[in-house]
C-alpha cells in the first residue's frame, strides 16, 4: 500500500515539476502510438469498408482471419518484426531495428486487425441500413465506401480509440524491436517494465499513473467529440 501512495506522490511530483525524462518518454510514447494509429487507420478503415460493401470469393475467410488476428500475441509480432528488420533479415539493409520506426511497424501490425474488425462491425450494420437506397441511387462502389466511412465516422473514431488503447499500453513487441534504449526508444510501458525490474516500484507506479491519465485524457477527448454529434456540429 505504501508503494501505491508513494507512486501517486511521485507521479504527482513528476508531472508538477515537468520532469524532463518523463516529458521525453511521454512525448515519444505519444509520437510512436499516434503515428502507428494514423497509419493503421489509413489501412484498416478502407479495408473494413471494402469488406462491408464488396462481395468476393474469400471475403468470409478474410473476416475470420482478421477477427482471429485481433488476439495476435504482441511478443510474437515483435519477434517476427525483429527477424525481418535484423541485419540478416530481408529488411535489415534499412537499419530500422531499435528505432521508433520499428516500434511503429510492430504497433501497426498489432492494431490493424483490431481497428479493421471493430470498424467492419459498424460499417456492416450501416451498410445493411443503407443498402437499398444506395443501390437504388446507382451509387458506385467507391462512393458507397466513402458514404459509409463518412456517415460512420464517430463509430470509426471509437474503433481507432480501441486501437490507441491497445497500442499505448503495448510492451512486449516494442521492447523486442525498440530495445528500450534511453533517449532513443524508451517509452512509458518499457520504462515501467525497466523500473519494476530494478525494484523502483514508486517510479514505475508513477509512470503507470501517467500512462493511465494519458489513456483517460484521450478517452475524454473522444467523448467530447462524440457529444458534438448530438449537437449536430460535425
Amino acid at each position: 500500500m505504501g508503494d501505491l501512495w508513494s507512486g501517486l506522490a511521485q507521479a504527482f511530483w513528476l508531472v508538477v515539476s515537468l520532469d524532463s525524462d518523463l516529458i521525453e518518454i511521454t512525448l515519444r510514447s505519444l509520437q510512436v502510438t499516434l503515428t502507428a494509429l494514423v497509419i493503421a487507420s489509413v489501412i484498416a478503415l478502407p479495408l473494413a469498408a471494402v469488406l462491408a460493401v464488396r462481395r468476393f470469393r474469400w471475403r468470409r475467410m478474410v473476416i475470420a482471419i482478421l477477427n482471429a488476428l485481433m488476439g495476435l500475441p504482441p511478443v510474437v509480432v515483435g519477434l517476427i518484426v525483429y527477424v525481418l528488420l535484423s541485419r540478416s533479415g530481408p529488411f535489415g539493409v534499412f537499419g530500422l531495428l531499435f528505432t521508433p520506426t520499428a516500434m511503429i511497424i510492430a504497433q501497426v501490425i498489432i492494431i490493424v486487425p483490431l481497428i479493421a474488425s471493430i470498424a467492419h462491425q459498424s460499417l456492416r450494420e450501416l451498410w445493411t441500413d443503407y443498402h437499398d437506397l444506395l443501390i437504388s441511387l446507382n451509387v458506385s462502389q467507391s462512393q458507397k465506401m466513402r458514404t459509409l466511412l463518412w456517415d460512420a465516422r464517430r463509430a470509426l473514431l471509437t474503433a481507432s480509440l480501441a486501437g490507441f488503447g491497445r497500442a499505448i499500453g503495448e510492451v512486449g513487441a516494442i521492447m523486442i524491436v525498440g530495445g528500450n534504449i534511453d533517449h532513443a526508444t524508451r517509452v512509458l510501458t518499457t520504462a515501467i517494465a525497466l523500473e519494476t525490474g530494478k525494484g523502483d516500484f514508486a517510479l514505475a507506479l508513477g509512470l503507470g499513473f501517467v500512462l493511465i491519465a494519458l489513456a483517460i485524457a484521450v478517452n475524454l477527448a473522444m467523448h467530447a467529440l462524440s457529444r458534438t454529434e448530438v449537437e449536430g456540429r460535425w
Partner: protein, 238 residues
C-alpha cells in the same frame, strides 16, 4: 407529358431469391402517363414487383424493356421505400445526396435541396439530423431526395404505411403535384382509399402474379375476378 422512357414492356419477368419465387411470371405494359397503383394482400409481391421494375431486384427469368437502354432508364428513376432510409446526415445533406454522388456542384446541390425542402415543408429543419425527424417528416424527406434528380419515373413502396392521417394527406398532396408536373408514378399500397384517390390504373397482384389490371374507375366500380371482388370487400384473400 409522355416520357421517352415508355412504353415499359414486361414479359414473363420473374424475381426469385435462393430458389423461392418472390414475384412472377409477370406480363405488363405501362405507358408514360399518370399513376399506376399496385394493390394486393400482404405477401402478394408488391414490393418485389416494384423492385424488379426498378432493377434493384435481380431478374431470374423474362424481360423488362424500356424504350431506352437499361442504364439510361435507371438514371431516370427514383425509389421511395416503405421505411425511409435516413443517412446519418442533416436534412439538407440527405436531400442533396443524390446530386452530390452525381457530381453536381455543392452550391447548386444545396440550392436545389433547399428548394425541395421548401416544397415538402421541411425548410425550418434543414440542419437537424434526419434521423431525429418524425415518420411523416422522414417520408417527406425521402420524397424530396427522390425527386431532386428530376426523375421520369418515381416508384413508391407503400409510402404512407404507418403514417397518421395528416402526414398521409400531405404526402398525397405532394404526389399529386409531382404527378401533375409530369413524373410517372408507380406506387404500391394496401390502402384502398389511397389507391382510389391517387390511381389512374390499378394492378391487382395475387400470389406474385398480376391477377387483374384495369383503369382505376373500372376496377373499383366492378372488378372482374372473384378474388379482386373479395379483396375490395375486405375479405381475406390468399
Amino acid at each position: 407529358m409522355v416520357s421517352a422512357l415508355f412504353p415499359l414492356r414486361v414479359r414473363g419477368a420473374v424475381s426469385s431469391r435462393r430458389g423461392t419465387v418472390l414475384v412472377g411470371p409477370v406480363d405488363l405494359d405501362l405507358d408514360g402517363q399518370g399513376t399506376t397503383v399496385v394493390v394486393g394482400p400482404n405477401g402478394s409481391g408488391k414490393t418485389s414487383l416494384l423492385a424488379m421494375l426498378h432493377g434493384t431486384a435481380r431478374l431470374s427469368a423474362g424481360d423488362i424493356t424500356w424504350s431506352v437502354p437499361v442504364d439510361q432508364a435507371r438514371a431516370q428513376q427514383a425509389f421511395v421505400f416503405q421505411r425511409p432510409v435516413m443517412l446519418r446526415r442533416s436534412v439538407l445533406d440527405n436531400i442533396a445526396y443524390p446530386l452530390q454522388v452525381a457530381g453536381v456542384a455543392k452550391s447548386e446541390a444545396r440550392s436545389r435541396a433547399e428548394s425541395w425542402a421548401a416544397r415538402v415543408g421541411l425548410s425550418d429543419m434543414l440542419n437537424r439530423p434526419a434521423r431525429a425527424l418524425s415518420g411523416g417528416e422522414q417520408q417527406k424527406l425521402a420524397l424530396a431526395r427522390a425527386m431532386i434528380g428530376d426523375p421520369t419515373v418515381l416508384f413508391l413502396d407503400e409510402p404512407c404505411a404507418a403514417l397518421d392521417g395528416r402526414s398521409t394527406r400531405e404526402i398525397e398532396a405532394i404526389l399529386q403535384e409531382v404527378c401533375a408536373s409530369g413524373t410517372r408514378l408507380i406506387l404500391s399500397t394496401h390502402d384502398l382509399g389511397q389507391a382510389r384517390r391517387l390511381g389512374d390504373d390499378v394492378v391487382f397482384l395475387l400470389r406474385g402474379k398480376v391477377h387483374e389490371r384495369g383503369a382505376a374507375d373500372t376496377f373499383f366500380a366492378g372488378p372482374v375476378t372473384v378474388e379482386a371482388q373479395a379483396f375490395l370487400r375486405g375479405d381475406i384473400v390468399e
